[in-house]
Symmetry: D3
Subunit: 243 residues, 6 copies
Amino acid sequence: MTWKEIKTILPKVQVAIIPTGSTEQHGPHLPLQSDTAFCLYICKKASEIVYPIAIVTPPISVGISTHHMKFSGSLSLKPETFIASIYDFAWSLKKHGLSKIVIVNGHGGNMAAIKVAARKIYDELDLISASLSYWELLDGGKAKEILNTYPRFPGHACEFETSLSYVIQPELVRKNQITGSDEIVSSHYEPFFAKIEVEYSKSGVSRGDPRLATPEKGRKLIDIISGEMAVFLRRFGEHGDEP
Amino acid sequence: MTWKEIKTILPKVQVAIIPTGSTEQHGPHLPLQSDTAFCLYICKKASEIVYPIAIVTPPISVGISTHHMKFSGSLSLKPETFIASIYDFAWSLKKHGLSKIVIVNGHGGNMAAIKVAARKIYDELDLISASLSYWELLDGGKAKEILNTYPRFPGHACEFETSLSYVIQPELVRKNQITGSDEIVSSHYEPFFAKIEVEYSKSGVSRGDPRLATPEKGRKLIDIISGEMAVFLRRFGEHGDEP
Amino acid sequence: MTWKEIKTILPKVQVAIIPTGSTEQHGPHLPLQSDTAFCLYICKKASEIVYPIAIVTPPISVGISTHHMKFSGSLSLKPETFIASIYDFAWSLKKHGLSKIVIVNGHGGNMAAIKVAARKIYDELDLISASLSYWELLDGGKAKEILNTYPRFPGHACEFETSLSYVIQPELVRKNQITGSDEIVSSHYEPFFAKIEVEYSKSGVSRGDPRLATPEKGRKLIDIISGEMAVFLRRFGEHGDEP
Amino acid sequence: MTWKEIKTILPKVQVAIIPTGSTEQHGPHLPLQSDTAFCLYICKKASEIVYPIAIVTPPISVGISTHHMKFSGSLSLKPETFIASIYDFAWSLKKHGLSKIVIVNGHGGNMAAIKVAARKIYDELDLISASLSYWELLDGGKAKEILNTYPRFPGHACEFETSLSYVIQPELVRKNQITGSDEIVSSHYEPFFAKIEVEYSKSGVSRGDPRLATPEKGRKLIDIISGEMAVFLRRFGEHGDEP
Amino acid sequence: MTWKEIKTILPKVQVAIIPTGSTEQHGPHLPLQSDTAFCLYICKKASEIVYPIAIVTPPISVGISTHHMKFSGSLSLKPETFIASIYDFAWSLKKHGLSKIVIVNGHGGNMAAIKVAARKIYDELDLISASLSYWELLDGGKAKEILNTYPRFPGHACEFETSLSYVIQPELVRKNQITGSDEIVSSHYEPFFAKIEVEYSKSGVSRGDPRLATPEKGRKLIDIISGEMAVFLRRFGEHGDEP
Amino acid sequence: MTWKEIKTILPKVQVAIIPTGSTEQHGPHLPLQSDTAFCLYICKKASEIVYPIAIVTPPISVGISTHHMKFSGSLSLKPETFIASIYDFAWSLKKHGLSKIVIVNGHGGNMAAIKVAARKIYDELDLISASLSYWELLDGGKAKEILNTYPRFPGHACEFETSLSYVIQPELVRKNQITGSDEIVSSHYEPFFAKIEVEYSKSGVSRGDPRLATPEKGRKLIDIISGEMAVFLRRFGEHGDEP
């Protein structure tokens, strides 16, 4: 969009979405930019549904991926840099008169940092803010109806992410490279550890079998998630952070 | 302990625990330092169970509480300061030869920041690290057997926290000030908002009725949580962050 | 690319390119992301010419644009955040064994900061580094042969940038919105001022008449610049920063 | 105290006290937390004398102790973290309407940093501020009447500190571990050196013989110091930083 | 000057000049402080010409010279420290009511950082700001009329700088140490490299033959540059950053 | 000096001196740069006495003077910038093989910050370090023999500083502007306050009557102080920070 087009719709915009992703290994069959691509696609789809009340900034396409540095090509920001980037985006958005920001995240490694960023934006920039990872909008029960292999939340380069890829970036899926997930049995203490399960993986695939992915599953997941995001955006735009 | 006593047990110590709490409003009947008191008490109890494999540092007794500043007496660190404090503790512990750190948290507002801190300690200090809020060791089902009012996790100055207080800081509970929780009906979007439910509260009590608290409930909760922490400490001490 | 594909070519890669752009007004007819799009396109084209000796990271798509904040939609990073982002990219690339980094910039407001970043990478990460804005590869004489309106370097949303757009992002050019450049006569002290000429512009167009732009001009410019970049990449890959 | 209790007395409070201590070796007979315990005890006693014009925040219980890291268990904050913690406490206190802050310090290694912090609070938060180490309130002549071994200021784990301990933390004194101070003859240039005398000590005791300590001496010292602090607090509350 | 003298002229002062230099090798015949001396001398001379509309602060006499650390005695600030120093100077000048700042630089290694600093001063302190290196005021054609060896801009410890030294610091020129410039043939890519040509030099002399320097040449150069600076200062004082 | 001259003497140099001063009001009769001038003069004199074991870097000529901003022309660094400058100087000196650093200070407002800096240099750069304000080398008794008006340490623009000025910067003393010190009776709590006595002054003169200053007194003071500094430098060079 041009600045004049933005200017025209700005009076009707209630929410600005800052998408965050990653550039990191996604198994042998998905490209490094997958998280960013998923997140941006879903944000745009949701913002189209609620047009014109939400706009989407360019994504922060490199996230916190220190846990993937052993896989070639992975890039990582320090948490300070990642948080500062979000903060500066929000500062800019405030300059244009926006008062409600939602950080929509597409990468597990960013989950804590977006919370810190959202609170800083609230405390220090005096903006109403929210943050979520897009899969938090997906009801676990529904996910399990669609997917054969789905733990409580998406794995990595798994059936979930590969199904999304068949819709969002089909030309980038290396079908002949798809293998099953590594057999890593993690204890229930895994959420406490700084080092995460996938760091023990050899293929980079974890928690879900990408061989079971289909475009149809991808479409269903995207429809549910972007639909739920649209509901959230309307609610956030109208009522903000009211309980 | 004296430095010589520490020196004597250090060869047997496998894990250092950094407790984090808060200094913030806890309703009309609990003192500002409640979160710190709960967390420290439970950490010490767990470390006694597994003696001498875990030691406990002094708590970081002021946390991230910007959301409670409207209540008199609440103190808050900026997230950068809070994370830096944990980092410096860990740096010091490394100097004494310790290689495994667990941050045990007692305050909701610190939950994202301890994750960021734990990963920084792992990435930048090359220490094996973990982080958890002590109530994450409490099985929801068991909690509901003990408590009459318990959502998925503890509220604030609620039945849960007041029961703990009857054991941990009984002389500081203002029994004649106890009132029920404010009736705030929050949407399921609440976890996404930077502003949290209790900021809408007038009394500072939320999600659980402190009038139902008893010392017996407190003892049971403490036994379960410190027992689970002991199990975790043994596992972490022996195997570290293996999946 | 997948991590395995990167891993396969890494032994032959001599140079990593970090593209930097902006998200800021580009007149009434070009989209906010133009600088990033130009820069990324040219970097990719040049890296294809010299394949496989150079790889391109995702672009840093928001730059230092405080001087455009009066135009709706412009986003800006603080210089510290911008420099830190480049630094973290370079840190990551070093982890994968890369030793030569070139920052290729597509936005005037980043010109000083990329120099600071390149020197920091050299001093603090011990990497051989270079930085340039892509138009510095374009000989002024050749540019004037192709373009009717071209000062010493490209203007903003001008004949130069619009010609590039006809090739790089043709579907995003609002042809019916194209107007001439504002008539701002700037003194020769303009390069000294922190505030730049375009900040006085009303349309956001400066130094070059976009009405004269053509796809043919765009193709010629791109061929020259990407060709020159290819020559540079070979030289840098082989000899590094030798004089 | 609860937030309501704080709220009730706040209109009468003139001064907030931020106590700072350390967690570091205190010879073979005193616990690591001694400095913090001394400082907090004296602050509370003084604030009781002048009740309700002064309140005491939780102590910053880890200070700048890099010079004690060779002794097991010592923890240290970087000076930046220590100063930021004080700053954030003061920021919080300002939110509650307080305008006068005094940092009361209990650890030699913090002496320069509290001055920097006090001035920052004054310059950047616009609060009236003061800083002192509690022993600066003790007249040297009086100290020498009470103590047999006392240089110009307290030593470390010495007669002075051990006497305080007999009153403040009697159950934590390891009486059978008490030895005399190391015989370190330091030049009069010692105050200029970054490395301090006690870093040359083997026992961790310096400048004063703990074998001569008695509870009676401790009581006298505490009475004098807390009494002097009360006088200061009244003066500071009433007149602020007037000369 | 005394504070009262400053106070008297302040109402007539329109511009404050912050001179920046370096402390680094200047060949075998010029002192380390040459850049600072040149810059300060020219700033003072120009401010005298336009008296009293411009005042000169003390110089920042150590700049960014990491590229000269192999030569004994060179000192360097990190770019962050250098920029912060300029920023704090500007902050101070604003306190005295000044609204226009020009950073006048005397050292190549500072060129990018002064641009970043000038923009920060503009954006964050809301001051009208400019930055330039004093030789940018020297027309290339005129320079070549005066000097026998002059590339597009001054070299290092060269004919240009040595001629200035004969006027500005004649007693510090080691005449018997003067040698010709090292024969380094640098590619036209040199401006892109973080590492600069002089880092390959053995003597520390580059781009210009100091044996050809004379006091007469120095006087001419100084007259032109300080005269041009005076013109600039009048223009900046009157019109600010208007185009 | 040139880099070759430095290189020649470096093997004999044991100590590097970093002088720190201020640019701030010094009453109606002394120039803003007085503190820097005094400090640099004395450092150079002392280093000449012990030649070649000590070298002197350029001074940090703007210090922490927020308390003088009401007086025209005063400049101030933030404490972080001031400490970072000293740190970077020390980092540079280490690159040249120096291992002992002494910060010699000439301004009261820097006293706490040089201690923090010296310890950081020791902890983080692994250099042996010391810090002192030059008047700390002056025995109080001797000072009172020479001066008629001298409290425990020098005042501001007082008999002490004006006597030094008659020797160090005689041409800059405005004799006809000399007035007596303001009659400010400060409490003995003054050392605790962040705001210092001279901030209440109208003339900027405090603690000592400049009308009683003479060149003879100045010479005596300088001889004593630089002589004592020479003794210290020899001791520090030979034994470092041994007690």
